[in-house]
Each structure stands twice: as structure tokens, then as C-alpha cells.
Symmetry: C2
């Protein structure tokens, strides 16, 4: 018996006890039902992917945060004997980092998917990030994507699906911020930032709501972008926020005009569905991931630093896996972020979890009779625990109270002879002798 | 655009498309509902555990099959510079190998769990085994365990829960084979096999149904157990199978008698619940895992090599993680095994998956009106896909057929003016003009 084993989960990982699971399932159940009402079908991909699938899709920071699976047996032996020098010598598999790259692999792999593949996926992902409040190394994403079309209907539908989820969960004050990568690139160029610094500028700009204007200026300056240029960019973006600014950008030639026109179409189409008044243009929205090509989205909610989810159009990702370039757009909800805000705001309904009835067996009743009675109660739809050991009734009722079970069904020889139990309401203290077959209706009626 | 990336999942891993997910959810839904009716509450533990938690719990073969997470950054650098020689230098975390060891860790970690912690857990586990037909490297277990009591009620309840699951899934012919580790040890000794070869004998005996009598003799002979001893053991076990044999074993002194008496109690108590006629004594049942201490269980079903699940009592495992020795018993269903048999036998009900209505937009209808109409249909509870692009109606209906959608809702300018759609039943070809608000009732009525 060793005392030295830690009984905690690893850093950044969590155990979910019954009440946690119930809350998570509540949210996942709503997400699933709403996504299906939009015609999406489920997909699940493996936890482990080949590193060739994962590497180079998330940018250098992403590659650093991948969990990699150590080689085993002969392969490990060979690597060590060959003088393994880097991660790539020791691993060729890693853990799923998001749900978009596996989707792209799946779309490239299965040729008989529908022309419009509308899939949702609700699974955990792993990132070896420094753990912090609200940031975990294992966390769940709830993704919805449409492949096979560039039509704005698809962009509006993923925004509508996410908006419906949030509304059904009880959110009223959220915003779906939208921007467009092409438009943003044009505005970055307008500010006089060189093309080769554009990617960098977007990554840093994405942190604006976390680090503020001064933080963005400082970080970009450290990376070689003159403060004057950054100030110019922020001014350009500020002007784009003015009413009618988007309409005049839409009149420009080239990618900026295309982007602005696509955004106007998305705002109009989105607003005619559940995204309604939630969908708004935010010219500073950048999104960190490099694979976005068109409209980008993010959910903002008062009091939450960071977002509850985001997404966008990525028309070039699937082509990295196959011969065919297939356009796609998607939205990802962060389960932990949604749960965090719902907990802070007390948005959960009462979630019945655990047994409704504790079957208390008196000393002179055989185990087999307790099992027989519990079987009848369960057949009537009740969740029933049998007190396992022999104990005084008081001790059994005390256990029922610590469990929070609302009813005790007491089985003594007298009840046994009658095919009955004494049903005790543990909140009121009332008790009544009832035939086994009537207990279900009584418990559910109260 | 690289063509060289494989788009397949890694060896032993699978993608689950919509129909697969629907079947898996059907089974998991039944398991969950039944386990909850027995008063069990859910637990979810992290995918990644510390290796100190996992190592030494599953025997040397198990340790070999663990997926280990490669160190990162400085830790990896230090290991490589220090001349990493073994797996232990390069990893201190691994993937969950079963659900029992994480449960033991959780019970040791959380002091405010109920005295009887009745938890169920339905999650994937990972084993780097050689993939084969029906054997995967990522697979799901559905576990149910009771900690805190040695009473036979607990053993009978986990058997009853699993039996109820199988019955509700439609199985009628399964057996819950039971044996007892203490009894089995005594019979191994009766056969003249030395105490130090006992563990080995049990591991090999566990393969009896796969490799047969000759296979067991051969493998044990290779490991130093004389063929005569193995023959003697098989004869002893055969005799134990005779009627009344268990009763006479129960009269013996020592652990064999205790084991036999516990088995008789389990058979009687179990038979009074849903395990009913399914529960039978099998003296050759051994179970591979080393941590079992008392009764052991396994589900046998005609036509399946191997089992659909197994379990047993493990009174010493939780003590490996904490100061307190807490008795426990559990049963684990293998989701993939259950699915395999259900598929072979055609046991799945019709599982509605995917949209029920395809909204077809005629060329002169704006996107925003299609979104608006879909929003109304979804609010009435329908699963609705909007055809994203502009296309001839014929092409849209053809797509509906490839999707298997039963209804098309056609939206042209005429329908738009009336607040209606033309609802076409794609099976009968019938079509009717209906106000949007009446479509839900019509689709569901048919």
C-alpha cells in the first residue's frame, strides 16, 4: 500500500462528478438538439491523429502545444539507439487539437459524403497550454460546419445555429461579432503595414480585447511594427466601425470590396434568422487561426474576457488533404466557456441526478427480497438505490438524507407479506404503506 | 497543396459517421438510463492520467500497452541531453487504460463522496494492442461500480444492472458467468499447481474459450507447468461444474469454502432480480486482470468469441491510492462488442438521423427569406436543411433523395406571398401547398 501516488488528475485536467456531468450534459443536449434541427448530422473522430494530419495547420504556436504520443517497443528502441534529437524522432501521433482539421481530413477521405456535408461534432480537444483560471488542457468544443458551398446561406446558417443554442440556453445579451479576413487585410495594408507583417498583425490584433490598445502597440513594436503604424491601423479600424463605413468599403474594387459586400450579405441574411439583432460588424475582430479565408465570427458576452466561441470560412483547408479544394464554413462553441458564464449567472435549471428512492431493508428481510422489490420499482420508471448492508433504520434514513434522496421505501417482514413498502417522504416526514406497484405514481405525483 | 498526407485515421482508430454515431448513441442511451434506474450517478475522468496512477495496476502486459505522452519543451530537452534510455525518462503521463483504476483514484481523492459511491462511467479507453477484427486501440467501456461494501447485494446489483441493459437492448440468450477468485485459487492448488504459478495459470486459463484445451496445455507447458498438472486442473474444474459440486465445495474450510458460499449467495440473490436465469456458475472463468479478489463475472453470448463484458470484486485496489482500504465491485460492458453482436443480428430499431425536410429555394427568392422560412419550420420541431446554392428544382430534389430526406418544402415567390411552402412527400410524390405553420404537424403525422 503506497501512500505516495497522487490521487489528483494531472495538471490542467479535471474529474467531473455527478453534478458536473449533469450540467455538461444539459448544455450538450441543447447543442445537439439545436444543431440537428438545422439539419446537421453527427461525426466523431478519434482522439489520436497522425502528426502529419495535425502539424502545420495551427501555426507554430499550435504545433508547440500538441500532445504527442511516445513511440513504443521496437520503434522507440530504434529512435533511442539512433540518437533521437527532437520530438519528431520520438512520436508520429498526437492528440486532437481542434475539430476542424479532423473534419477536413474526413471530407477528403470519404468520397460518398453528401455534396453539402453538414456535420456537427461535440468532443474534447487537448492543448498543452499553461493552465489558468478557465483554461484547461482538456476541454470540449461543439462544432458545426458546412462544406461544399461558398453561398452566404451557409455562413448565415452556422451563425443561426449557434445563436439558437445560446438563446435556448437562456442567453439574451450575446453578440455575434463578424468581420472578413480579406477586408481586414486591406485595412492592415491601408495602415501602411507591410504584407509580410500582416499575419503577425492579425495574431496580435486578436488579443485586443485581452491586452488593450497599449498591449497591442507594445507587442507589435517588439515584433518590429512601428507604433505609428499600429496607431494608424487602430484609427483605420475605428473609422470602419462608423455607420455607413461598411457600405462605402463595399464600393471599393479588389478584395476589400468583395469582403465588405460579403459581410453586408451575411449581416442581412443572418439577421433574418435567429442571429437577428445579435449579429454585428466588428472591424477589429481578427481570430488567431491562420486557415480562415473569408468571413470570421466570434461570440461576445458581457463580463467574459475572451469569447464563448468563434469560427469562420476556410476555403483552402480541405484541399491540404486531398486533390479537391472544397469550400467550408464553421462555428465552434467552447463548452467550458458557456458553462463558466452559465454558472456565474445561475442559469441552470434544476437537474435531477441520483436516485429518487432509497430502498431500506430491515434486518429480517433477505437480500433477494430487497432486489425483487427494487426490480419492481425500477420497472415503474423510478431511480432506486438499495441500501447494501444491514443497519438500523435510522442509519439508513440518515444516509438517504446525505444522498439527498427524496423518498425512502422501507421493506420489513410486514410489508413483505403484503407485497408493499412503507414509503416515507423525507422532506415532509409523512409516511404511507403502499403496494409496490403504486409507488412509482406516488413518487412522481408529489 | 500536398497530396502525401494520409486521410485515414491512425491504425486501430475509427471515424464514426452519422449512422455509426446514431447506433452508438442508441446503446449508450439505454445503458445510461438503466444504470441511473439502479441509482448510479455519472462520473467522467480525464483522458490523460499520471503514469504513477496507471503503472503496476494491469500487470506487465498492460504496462506495455499503455499510450504514453511525450515530454515537451524543457523537460524533453533535459531528458534527451541526459541520455534518455527508457520510456520512463520520456513520459510521465499516459492515456486512460480502463475505467476502474481512475475510479479507485477518484474514491481515494474525494473525501465527501457518499459512503456507498455508486458510479457509472461511459468513456473511451486506449490500448496499443495489435489491431484485429473487432479489436480497436480506442474503444468504449460502460462501467458500473459500487464502493464501500462487501455485501452480496452490491455484487447482485451490478449483475442486475448489466442484465437489464442487455434485456432492454433486445438480448435474450446471454449468460452471466460467475466464479470466485478464492475458490479458483483453491482448485488450482488442488490440481497440484504451485502457488507461485497460480497467477500464471489464471491468466492462461482466461484464454480457454479462445485457444481451447490444447492451447491452454501448450501455453502452460511452455511456461513450466507440466501437462499432467494442467490436465488435472481441467479435470478438477470440470467436476466443479457438476450439479451439487458448488454446495459441497461450500462445506470446505478456508478460502475455498468462503468463496463457494459467497458464490451461492450471489447466485441466489442475483437470480431474484433481472439477472434471473442468466446468471450461472462457470468454474473455468478466470478473468485476466490481477486486481480481482472475490466473485468475478463475464457475459457470454452465442456466436461471439470472447465476451461482451466482465467484472468482479476488487477489495484491495482503492487502498493502493489512499490510506483507507475500501471494498468495491463492478461490471464493465464493452460498447464495441455489444454493437458488433447487435449489428450481426440486426437488432437496431430505425434510428432517425439527418434532416426531415429540405427547404428548396427557387431562383427568385432571396436567401434571407429561405432562412426566415426555415426558422419557422425549425421552431415547430422539425429538422430542416436549407439548400445552400441556387439550382434548378430538379437538382435540389435529386439532392434530397441522395440525402434520404422524406420531404421537400419548396419556396417560390408565389409561396412567399402566401406565407406558405409547397410540401412534397418524396416517397409518394404527392404535393400540397401549406401555410408554414402547418408543415410541422403534416410532416409528423405521416
Amino acid at each position: 500500500m503506497s501512500q505516495s501516488i497522487s490521487t489528483k488528475p494531472p495538471s490542467g485536467m479535471r474529474d467531473f462528478l455527478a453534478a458536473d456531468v449533469a450540467r455538461r450534459r444539459h448544455v450538450v443536449g441543447v447543442v445537439q438538439r439545436v444543431y440537428e434541427s438545422f439539419g446537421f448530422v453527427p461525426l466523431e473522430t478519434p482522439t489520436i491523429e497522425n502528426l502529419t494530419t495535425l502539424l502545420g495547420k495551427y501555426g507554430p504556436e499550435g504545433d508547440q502545444l500538441l500532445y504527442r504520443i511516445l513511440h513504443r517497443r521496437e520503434k522507440l528502441q530504434r529512435a533511442l539507439e539512433g540518437g533521437a534529437a527532437t520530438e519528431l524522432d520520438l512520436a508520429d501521433e498526437g492528440l486532437r487539437y481542434d475539430l476542424t482539421v479532423p473534419l477536413a481530413r474526413v471530407v477528403a477521405n470519404y468520397r460518398d459524403l453528401p455534396h453539402y456535408y453538414k456535420r456537427y461534432q461535440i468532443q474534447p480537444v487537448w492543448r498543452a497550454d499553461r493552465p489558468a483560471k478557465g483554461r484547461f488542457r482538456e476541454f470540449w468544443q461543439c462544432d458545426v460546419d458546412i462544406t461544399g458551398t461558398k453561398n452566404v446561406v451557409a455562413d448565415a446558417e452556422v451563425c443561426g445555429a449557434v445563436a439558437t443554442v445560446l438563446r435556448e440556453l437562456g442567453f439574451t445579451d450575446f453578440k455575434i461579432l463578424v468581420n472578413h479576413r480579406e477586408l481586414l487585410r486591406a485595412l492592415v495594408a491601408d495602415a501602411g503595414i507591410a504584407a509580410e507583417q500582416e499575419g503577425l498583425a492579425l495574431v496580435v490584433l486578436d488579443k485586443l480585447d485581452k491586452v488593450g490598445v497599449d498591449g497591442v502597440k507594445k507587442e507589435l513594436a517588439e515584433k518590429g511594427v512601428a507604433v505609428a503604424r499600429t496607431e494608424s491601423l487602430l484609427a483605420v479600424l475605428d473609422r470602419a466601425r462608423e455607420p455607413e463605413a461598411l457600405r462605402s468599403l463595399a464600393e471599393r474594387d479588389g478584395p476589400a470590396g468583395v469582403g465588405a459586400r460579403e459581410l453586408l450579405a451575411l449581416l442581412a441574411t443572418g439577421a433574418s434568422g435567429p442571429a437577428a439583432t445579435h449579429i454585428v460588424f466588428d472591424p477589429t475582430l481578427a481570430r488567431g487561426l491562420s486557415y480562415y479565408t473569408g468571413p470570421i465570427f466570434e461570440i461576445g458576452v458581457a463580463g467574459l474576457a475572451g469569447s464563448m466561441g468563434g469560427g469562420g470560412r476556410y476555403d483552402n483547408l480541405i484541399g491540404m488533404f486531398g486533390k479537391q479544394q472544397i469550400p467550408a464554413v464553421g462555428f465552434s462553441l467552447g463548452l467550458e466557456r458557456v458553462l463558466l458564464v452559465m454558472e456565474e449567472r445561475g442559469m441552470f435549471p434544476a437537474l435531477g441526478v441520483g436516485p429518487e428512492v432509497l430502498l431500506c431493508r430491515m434486518n429480517d428481510v433477505p437480500e433477494s427480497e430487497a432486489i425483487r422489490a427494487a426490480t419492481v420499482l425500477r420497472a415503474s420508471g423510478l431511480r432506486v438505490e438499495v441500501f447494501a448492508d444491514l443497519a438500523q433504520l435510522g442509519k439508513q434514513l440518515q444516509y438517504a438524507n446525505t444522498l439527498g434522496v427524496p423518498f425512502a421505501a422501507i421493506l420489513g417482514t410486514k410489508e413483505l407479506a403484503l407485497g408493499a413498502v412503507t414509503l416515507k417522504d423525507l422532506r415532509s416526514g409523512e409516511q404511507v404503506s403502499l403496494p409496490l406497484a403504486e409507488v412509482g405514481a406516488r413518487v412522481r405525483r408529489v
